[in-house]
Symmetry: C2
């Protein structure tokens, strides 16, 4: 009988996430009930929002309980189905968590027509991160040709798509990323016009010189001192899509923002958002994103951890910015 390897929350982190917050367990292979589907997870997506679910504090979804399987987006293959809509061999995307196999209600799975794309693209550019970027750019920032558009965490799964969407809209796009390698990637591979390395020690000066006339729109993933510095560079009537605050997720105390006054003085529009509030946008967003990928105008990079056992370390790395582009786990590595 096949066992099911899974990663559970062993303890809640205090500040930075540590390996001891996770435990790898062997469980029995689950069996699908009526209307359910059993999936072999081939790819697990690691995303910053998972940090919130490890804490007890109220967030937009309930926390994971200690001892429960870590939640997460997955792409895999149906290996048993008790629902007429799914057949063995179908490719599906779902939220089956940090485990090798999972059972889901049929309506909680999305069947994927790969259509020439690699399966893991449906966890990245053509999945939740891509649609997140699309919503923040097209429905909040609403970029116009000739505007200056800033993206923080510019080399990440969401930021990289956001910046390329703004570029496709005709903006001058400035990224913010950590380290010279990421900045090079953002400019040379992703086609941003400039990228500020926030680790270079001259944050204010470098932002100001990359944004001599300020910015019209900001896709914000980071928060902390970077967001605070950017606030002072907003042009009047600037739009800010607040997608994430990753610099705070491991912090014991939140960063305390100095420049709220810029929101008043420059009459800024700030909108926090979470993609799951907007299920209706998926078809249009995926059409747009797919067309750009096919046209070669939407590049993406992946950082792949080999094997489910590597998920905890890869997740810790994601929160520390070690990844480039979309952080994935290949659940069953080639050798396994």
């Amino acid at each position: 009988m096949t066992a099911n390897l899974r990663v559970v929350l062993a303890s809640r982190p205090t500040g930075a996430v540590e390996m001891s917050n996770f435990r790898v367990e062997h469980a029995a292979l689950p069996e699908p009930g009526p209307g359910q589907v059993l999936v072999r997870n081939l790819w697990l997506s690691l995303d910053p929002y998972m940090r919130g679910r490890m804490s007890e504090a109220r967030s937009y979804v309930a926390p994971v309980e200690v001892g429960e399987c870590m939640p997460g987006g997955t792409a895999g293959e149906v290996i048993a189905s008790r629902d007429a809509g799914f057949a063995v061999g179908d490719h599906v995307v779902g939220m089956l968590g940090w485990q090798q196999y999972g059972v889901a209600e049929a309506q909680a799975l999305r069947k994927v027509d790969k259509n020439g794309f690699p399966l893991q693209a449906f966890l990245g550019t053509l999945g939740m991160p891509g649609v997140t970027a699309w919503h923040g750019v097209q429905e909040i920032c609403k970029p116009a040709a000739g505007e200056t558009f800033v993206v923080t965490a510019a080399s990440g799964a969401v930021g990289s798509v956001a910046g390329q969407l703004a570029k496709a809209a005709g903006c001058r796009v400035v990224g913010v990323a950590g380290g010279a390698d990421k900045c090079r990637h953002v400019v040379h591979d992703l086609g941003f016009d400039a990228c500020v390395d926030y680790k270079a020690g001259r944050l204010h000066e470098d932002l100001a010189s990359a944004l001599p006339d300020g910015f019209h729109a900001l896709f914000e993933n980071v928060g902390g001192p970077i967001f605070d510095a950017l606030l002072t560079l907003a042009r009047p009537f600037g739009r800010i899509a607040l997608c994430g605050l990753i610099s705070d997720y491991n912090a014991l105390e939140p960063y305390r923002l100095k420049n709220l006054r810029a929101v008043l003085i420059n009459r800024l529009h700030v909108q926090g958002f979470i993609v799951s509030d907007h299920p209706a946008i998926w078809p249009q967003a995926l059409r747009d994103l797919g067309s750009l990928v096919v046209a070669g105008r939407l590049q993406s990079r992946e950082t792949i951890a080999e094997g489910l056992m590597e998920a905890p370390d890869a997740f810790i790395g994601l929160l520390a910015g070690r990844n480039l582009g979309k952080q994935l786990v290949r659940v069953f590595p080639a050798a396994g």
Copy 2:
């Protein structure tokens, strides 16, 4: 020959505004050129935004230069006109500043048909503060019947109108004000459903118990610890009209906001605004406000300083919250 008393900026404040930052001067009565109008100012409006103009820091308008007349909204009577649109005796509203007489271009004045209202109402409920409240409530907060609506600086010229507009829209309205007297006024005279006294020393507890289910919309005039505490009480998709940050205006360092994360988690919409960006709304706003006043559904209170010489002290009092309702200066007191 009549002299023109005026108050000029003597020095820029460092932190709190002091009497020594002002100087009273006698100047010659100005003469209108072609297309200009000479006005005897009967009422001067004192407003928090003036604090920003006393500082050198960039704001949404240029600072006043040291030695210049303090700027401000005025209501008065035409005493000489070289423009066909204005006649001696006309009542006008303009921005003639802290002085007894002023000359303005005709197009910078608004002729007022008093229509039974006292002239100073056109500096309050039927003027800039009223239209400010109208814009923030109707075009940003967009209150729906049954929602919970919060207003800070609830007894002030803008807040008092904002809360009554939200009440007219069918909301449960909760004010925040400083002191038991103001809170009593807000509930008993203005008709708010509740008012939290932020000076009572139990800010978080009192806000939480006045807002057991959080709030849908917030009209924010204050900032600082009050706004920070309120952020944690926003309901998902809450709307915040950011109109002012008076708690910071006299501060040497801005308050540092802890709860930015609430904007993300609760997908808040935060919009900074300044009424002067929206000249097109005046006719509709004034129609609405006028109807509510006539119907007895829009109460207002005034605090009146007698004589232009009293303007500096009254302005210092405004920033400290000493006034109730609209702070005005009667430029020529009855005895004078």
